[in-house]
């Protein structure tokens, strides 16, 4: 597992060539957050991942991620983490997979302590777990959402 001192670029840096092994993990001991190095899928909503978007796996391959939960090549029910910055299609960069994450897209009805899943009805979004979705849970809510923003304690993503 890498640390921040292993990076040659800011953690928000993206590029078309890999700087690390795809799937590599990084632990920031000061923030207690964990990140994974991924590739943005070839076709994502708005042509890029945006900070705060929830992400799913993609048929492109292991450690490919997508914000498109219900169409294209995204595998909406398979959570992969939360984007921390923009990553354009086919570019490589870091996403968050552990610790407390700032999520920017909820359905506006998330309560404190709710279990969270990807929202297959809204690209990049999350929603409260419904009965039968238990295996999709990737975190729980620290406090009720404010508008569409919420803080999520991530779990089970690495």
């Amino acid at each position: 597992m890498l640390g921040l001192s292993d990076l040659t670029q800011p953690i928000t840096y993206f590029g078309t060539t890999t700087l690390h092994t795809l799937g590599a993990l990084l632990y920031d001991s000061e923030s207690a957050k964990v990140y994974r190095y991924v590739k943005c899928a070839a076709a994502v909503t708005n042509n890029a991942l945006a900070a705060g978007e929830c992400l799913c796996a993609d048929t492109g391959g292991a450690y490919y991620v997508n914000n498109d939960m219900a169409g294209g090549t995204g595998l909406g029910t398979l959570p992969m983490g939360v984007a921390i910055s923009a990553i354009p299609e086919n570019n490589y960069g870091w996403i968050q997979v552990g610790g407390q994450a700032s999520v920017t897209i909820t359905d506006g009805e998330v309560a404190a302590n709710d279990f969270i899943v990807n929202n297959t009805g809204e690209d990049g979004g999350c929603d409260t777990m419904a009965d039968g979705e238990e295996e999709q849970v990737f975190g729980f809510v620290i406090a009720a959402d404010v508008g569409d923003a919420v803080t999520v304690q991530l779990r089970g993503l690495f």
Binding site: M1, L25, A57, T59, L78, G132, E134, F158
Partner: protein
Amino acid sequence: MITVINSTIDYSASSAAYDLGTLYFAGTKAYRYVRAAAACTNDLLASTESVCGDSGGVYYVNNDFAGGTGLGVTTPMGVAIGTIAENYYGWIQVGGVATVITDGEVAAAEAIVLDASNDGDVDTMADGEEEQVFGWATAADVGTVGTIMLRGLI
């Protein structure tokens, strides 16, 4: 959590070289140091077998899902990466993409659980088994060989 070990990852021994439960990260994968239970199916854990918890203690693991001291499908612990004989210590995989033994009917992107009917194997999650999920298939299995993205085991 450690990032360096002083033996090969598939080395096992009758005495512990690390604290039981220690995590080791290497590349994209994570491993946990465990003890094989006193009574396992075929008297050992074999590479690519999935394992559950065991009543012997914390971080004891077993490939026996339906009998003996294995705690069964509700307690997934990881995937064996080498042979670990009964009562021996060694590493199992708990993070990253792992090779497993399936029932031969796993499709890509399916959520995966331990197979209650076949020791050491995995199966597709059925309704009501959601809390047992410990990974998802990255591709359809080939015969009974599957690859899964592990989750929730660390």
